[in-house]
């Protein structure tokens, strides 16, 4: 009921104030609540019912959130799809969750003319049939659902090479939302430009600011120019982005000619903040910074470092601490056995609390694997300082974070190995100034196999952000006696 209660409260308190803005229009809280109820009835009229999965393929726009809230009212599960995924990746997700409907933008839906057999409804946001949904349907009684009702399946990159669906319920949103509201204290005068995609776990940040009655401005894909223009046009007080977006924004010429004086706080997360970007941003933006540390499996943002806790740029040696865990959640550093390590000692960061996911969709083995005595393992290595702040130092998982998007090397290796001429493959992350990290592939292939051929093969199977820019051909992938790839040798040899 969290999402419904959020709407009911904000409609009551801020009826005529703007809730959402996108590049096409804006809606007030009253309009948002009415359309959500209408849409829920319309979708129910199409036969979508409690427990059904509905995939959404769209750039950020108001209809995405209307669907999110409408499906929650029905007890149907929202399954947002990364629109940059390749055709087989989208088909794989839709098939695994058994989606009964796919909703989205026409041009994106058109890229997927053939969808798995479970899909019986296909509706485009920009067509009259979607706008008419619920406006003429007979009234449908909308159920009152408990917080334990699953509400979304959010997909993350996975070591298996196939995206894993993280099933979250409204209790998770409520727990994270209330914890966040208690420490970050956004209010109904906040106007937040959301630069992050709504298909990502990071969308919980926007949900949380909406819960406070804030106005959220959605961008249809990030560009520095659009983000800067949105801040000026809407007199935005807050922005939510990944550090690489901030780097691009500060590099754009428009950053010098745009009025950014309304900005009070820049929220950043999903990747470490490069010290040079932070120093530049502090000097030029003159606002506060809030770090967001989160993970989809944990319900989203569960740790934050507020503006008052941020160090001066000159004091940042390598990394800014992540901050303290939000009220209602627990986090600690543990050794390999799951025992808590002393303050200041490095261990794996694990998390517990009502924000945690219910589990991976249809994958109990993976769910068991991620939990250690009831604590979710983040795969991040770090320590807790004397003031309870979490500091990250490394990753225990073999993961590449490219501009805030997680990419498991195994996913790329698997795609490479599917090419008939590839005998072995290994992928490592290498530093990149613009993206933080990018994948680099090492391949053992049949004679005569070219880089172009393999890159073309990958283009048909992987989203652009997962594709390596370069492929190095080698005679043998270094492996230890157990057959595991020795990636350090590849990284050091590059």
């Amino acid at each position: 009921m969290w999402l419904t209660q959020l709407l009911e409260r904000n409609r009551q308190c801020f009826a005529d104030r703007v809730a959402l803005v996108d590049e096409h229009r804006s809606v007030t809280w009253s309009e948002f609540a009415e359309r959500t109820a209408e849409l829920a009835r319309g979708l129910a009229g199409l036969g979508i019912a409690r427990g059904d999965r509905v995939a959404v393929l769209s750039q950020d726009r108001i209809e995405v959130l209307e669907c999110y809230f409408a499906l929650a009212r029905l007890g149907a599960l929202f399954v947002p799809l990364n629109h940059s995924l390749a055709v087989p990746e989208v088909a794989g997700i839709v098939e695994r969750v058994g989606a009964v409907a796919v909703l989205g933008e026409s041009d994106l839906l058109d890229r997927h003319p053939v969808l798995p057999g479970s899909v019986r409804i296909r509706l485009a946001f920009d067509k009259p049939a979607f706008a008419a949904l619920g406006t003429v349907a007979a009234p449908v009684e909308l159920p009152v659902l408990p917080d334990s009702e699953p509400v979304a399946v959010l997909h993350t990159s996975a070591t298996t090479g196939r995206a894993k669906g993280v099933t979250v319920d409204e209790g998770s949103f409520r727990a994270i939302g209330l914890g966040w509201l208690a420490v970050a204290r956004p209010d109904d005068h906040v106007v937040m430009v959301n630069c992050c995609p709504l298909y990502h776990g990071s969308m919980v940040v926007s949900l949380t600011y909406l819960a406070a009655g804030a106005t959220v401005v959605l961008l249809p894909g990030f560009t520095p120019q659009k983000a800067l223009a949105a801040v000026e046009r809407h007199r935005a007080t807050h922005m939510w982005l990944v550090p690489q977006m901030l780097r691009f924004m500060l590099r754009a010429k428009a950053s010098h000619s745009t009025d950014l004086s309304s900005l009070r706080e820049v929220l950043y997360g999903a990747a470490p903040m490069p010290p040079d970007v932070y120093a530049d941003a502090v000097a030029r933006l003159g606002c506060g910074f809030r770090q967001v540390y989160g993970m989809t499996e944990v319900g989203g943002p569960f740790v934050t470092l507020g503006p008052d806790e941020h160090p001066a740029p000159a004091e940042v040696a390598e990394r800014i601490p992540c901050g303290r865990v939000v009220p209602g959640m627990s986090a600690r550093a543990v050794d390999r056995t799951g025992r808590e390590v002393p303050r200041g000692q490095i261990g794996q960061i694990v998390v517990r609390g009502p924000g945690l996911m219910q589990g991976y969709w249809d994958d109990p083995a993976a769910t068991r694997e991620v939990f250690l005595d009831g604590w979710a393992q983040t795969g991040d290595l770090g320590f807790v300082d004397e003031d309870g702040r979490i500091h990250l130092v490394d990753r225990s998982k073999d993961l590449i974070i490219r501009a805030g998007q997680n990419v498991y090397p195994s996913e790329i290796e698997r795609a490479l190995l599917a090419h008939p001429a590839v005998r072995d493959a290994a992928v490592v992350g290498v530093p990149d100034e613009d993206y933080g990290e990018i994948p680099l592939a090492y391949v053992v292939a049949e004679d005569g196999t070219g880089e172009r051929e393999l890159l073309t093969h990958l283009a048909g199977n992987l989203a652009p952000y997962k594709r390596p820019r370069r492929i190095e051909f080698i005679d043998q992938v270094p492996r230890n006696p157990a057959g595991k790839i020795i990636k350090k040798l590849l990284r050091d040899g590059d």
Binding site: G221, F248, P464
Partner: protein, 82 residues
């Protein structure tokens, strides 16, 4: 090779992508990463000194659009325009 194609080669690290694109192909739908499109705009600004605004971005979809935009700016610049 045109300026924009040269920049695409620089960004993608290979001439293969830029070589296969027609002047009127929508770059966003061409398989290039969205981050690389952002970098293309920044690189155009850096190399030409021209500021690209959010409104300009609406019109810049293809290599041909970029080339026309830069040609217009060059004419405006040489005739003392904005």
């Amino acid at each position: 090779m045109s300026t924009i194609r040269e920049l695409l080669v620089e960004l993608t690290g290979t001439s293969e992508y830029a070589d296969t694109l027609g002047d009127d192909v929508d770059l966003a739908g061409s398989g290039i990463d969205s981050g690389d499109l952002v970098r293309l705009v920044l690189l155009v600004e850096q190399r030409t000194g021209v500021e690209i605004t959010a409104a300009d971005m609406e019109t810049l979809r293809t290599i041909g659009d970029y080339e026309s935009f830069l040609a217009d700016r060059a004419v405006a610049g040489s005739s003392g325009g904005a």
